[in-house]
């Protein structure tokens, strides 16, 4: 399995995909640091940004007329606003980065047909699955850690007059969000092994969250259904895990994430085990 991971890292470092992800992450961080608001790839979270809390002392109307420089100055000196916390609470954004990682790690192998070279003369399907799932998780978490550290570093270098989290606090949020991030990875790994073609994976995973959110929005706003699991939906979990969650909430989240991780990995592996490799 280590050999498979080593080979894949050799390959991934020679492909553009991974560098594009890092570039987008850096761009997002630059925007975040410059605007003092979290850069958002696509607004998919049900939760509000912490900015709405910070602007309570002024009217939203007034804030909406602020230039980027004015809002930056306002948030920079707000005693209740913590950019890093706000940025990390929007980590659901990384779903789209994770899709790219799942594609370059897993589905590209199926799309090229090169998976048959590995399975016919290197390792078993079980080890292949474990190696690929492990590598995808490691890469996704590395990207998440990289962005967390870069935001923190950027804050210390460029926004030192704003509220800055201690390193321990930052790492605490990262660790609390790990199960949620792993769930996200597992969903993508499972789906990658079920559908096995890049085009299909893109077609399924890109609109998946949007469709899910749409149903949630309809349930919440149109039907006025008080959704009991709203706080346990992945983007909510990312948000609350960054805002000093209670122990019972952490336990519930871990149980939900564990169940989802198991379910998607079992589904992915079962489908892959029976699959005809072309």
């Amino acid at each position: 399995m280590i050999n498979i991971c080593r080979a894949d890292i050799y390959r991934i470092l020679r492909s553009k995909g991974f560098y594009i992800i890092l570039g987008v992450v850096l761009l997002l961080i630059c925007f975040t640091l410059a605007a003092m608001e979290p850069g958002v790839v696509f607004s998919i979270g049900l939760q509000q940004s912490d900015v709405s809390e910070a602007i309570k002392e002024i009217s939203y109307d007034e804030y909406s007329h602020f230039t980027i420089k004015q809002s930056r100055d306002f948030l920079m000196h707000s005693p209740v606003y913590w950019l890093e916390r706000d940025y990390l609470s929007q980590n659901m954004n990384y779903y789209y980065m994770f899709i790219v990682i799942a594609v370059i790690t897993i589905t590209s192998d199926f799309s090229n047909g090169s998976v048959k070279n590995t399975l016919s003369s290197a390792i078993s399907r079980r080890k292949y699955y474990m190696a690929k799932a492990g590598l995808a998780a490691a890469l996704c978490l590395s990207v998440l850690l990289f962005s967390t550290l870069m935001v923190h570093l950027g804050m210390r270098l460029f926004n030192s007059s704003a509220n800055i989290l201690s390193f321990a606090e930052l790492m605490k949020i990262f660790v609390l969000q790990l199960p949620v991030a792993l769930t996200l990875v597992s969903i993508l790994v499972g789906l990658s092994f079920i559908f096995r073609k890049t085009a299909v994976i893109n077609g399924v995973t890109i609109p998946l969250v949007m469709v899910f959110q749409l149903f949630m929005m309809i349930a919440k706003n149109l039907i006025k259904w008080d959704i009991p699991f709203e706080d346990y939906e992945l983007s909510s979990m990312f948000y609350f895990m960054a805002h000093d969650p209670s122990s019972s909430y952490i336990v519930k989240c871990c149980l939900i994430c564990g169940a989802l991780i198991l379910a998607f990995n079992i589904a992915g592996y079962t489908s892959f085990k029976k699959a005809e490799i072309r």
Partner: protein, 305 residues
């Protein structure tokens, strides 16, 4: 006794209502160059994919290096494969693609990559990206991949597809060299009979997923060579007369109606005269000699009847 590298017993693969492989039995011995002959869709690729684990068998079993289908995972590194079209990462060069698989197989001596590329004459283009390769070059890279890490068994599905005549001839020599010098067992499938005949020493004829015949090259030569076919109702007595009166030992009793004489030093007229004068009822006598293609057609025809 010769070491068995691969043996299948009643190996069957069904896709819903379609049986792609029907109770196939085959035995490949160490140092064999084993030719799988069959038309398109005969089941050659399915057979190869089943024994390499790319598709799951429906019934029957197989053993590779003495390990059955549930135990042979650890033996996979002893196998080199090229199944169907050669598939590699288009954005990587030929060298990088092989290096990727070298890492996968845990090969530490990376000179093996250059050796494999040299063997298939791709050294000059090793830094060219795979997507820019011609069909023949892709095929050769696939063969280089199969040869990586000096496997004990190489399985090649239609390896000469897309190769030019010189490439085919060079590849034939490479196969012989690998077999003779390194003792590698090869299983090669093709629908081009003459090419397989030129390199293989044992053959499996397959049609509609069913094994028609498994023969050695000597047996095949014998079946296809020029001979005198004698048809009579008493082949036992006829055989004795051929041996005693003509002094010929180079003959074969095919069944209770047919004898084939392979000796080149006798004519059908002499044989007929001798048998008739000895009181044997000869219903038919003629000279025969079938080409490999005719032999295959004959086999396929017999099964379809």
């Amino acid at each position: 006794m010769r070491e068995i590298v691969l043996q299948t017993k009643g190996l069957t693969k069904k896709f819903k209502n379609f049986t792609a492989l029907n109770s196939a039995d085959m035995t490949v011995y160490r140092k064999d160059i084993y030719g799988l002959i069959g038309r398109n869709g005969a089941g050659k690729t399915t057979l190869m994919k089943t024994v390499t684990g790319l598709t799951q068998k429906t019934e029957g079993d197989f053993e590779i290096f003495g390990k059955n289908s549930r135990e042979y995972e650890n033996e996979k590194k002893r196998i080199g494969c090229l199944i169907e079209n050669p598939a590699f990462f288009p954005n990587l060069t030929a060298y990088q693609n092989l290096r990727y698989y070298a890492y996968q197989k845990g090969i530490t001596d990376l000179r093996q990559i250059d050796d494999a590329l040299e063997l298939v004459k791709l050294t000059d283009v090793k830094e060219r990206k795979f997507r820019k390769f011609s069909l023949g070059m892709k095929q050769r890279l696939g063969i280089a991949f199969a040869m990586l890490d000096n496997p004990d068994l190489i399985i090649l599905d239609e390896p000469i597809n897309g190769l030019d005549p010189i490439g085919i001839s060079e590849l034939r020599e490479t196969f012989r060299k690998l077999n003779e010098e390194r003792g590698i067992t090869l299983i090669i499938s093709s629908h081009i009979l003459s090419e397989l005949y030129a390199v293989a020493n044992r053959f499996l004829f397959i049609e509609n997923g069913r094994v028609l015949k498994e023969v050695s090259k000597d047996e095949l030569d014998l079946e296809c060579s020029r001979c005198i076919v004698v048809r009579s109702d008493d082949t036992k007595r006829g055989a004795m007369m051929i041996e005693d009166k003509l002094g010929i030992n180079d003959y074969k009793v095919i069944d209770d109606r047919e004898i084939r004489i392979y000796s080149p030093n006798v004519s059908s007229v002499d044989v007929n005269r001798m048998l008739v004068s000895g009181g044997l009822n000869v219903s038919e006598i003629f000279e025969s000699g079938v080409s490999l293609e005719d032999y295959f057609k004959q086999l396929v025809g017999e099964v379809s009847k």
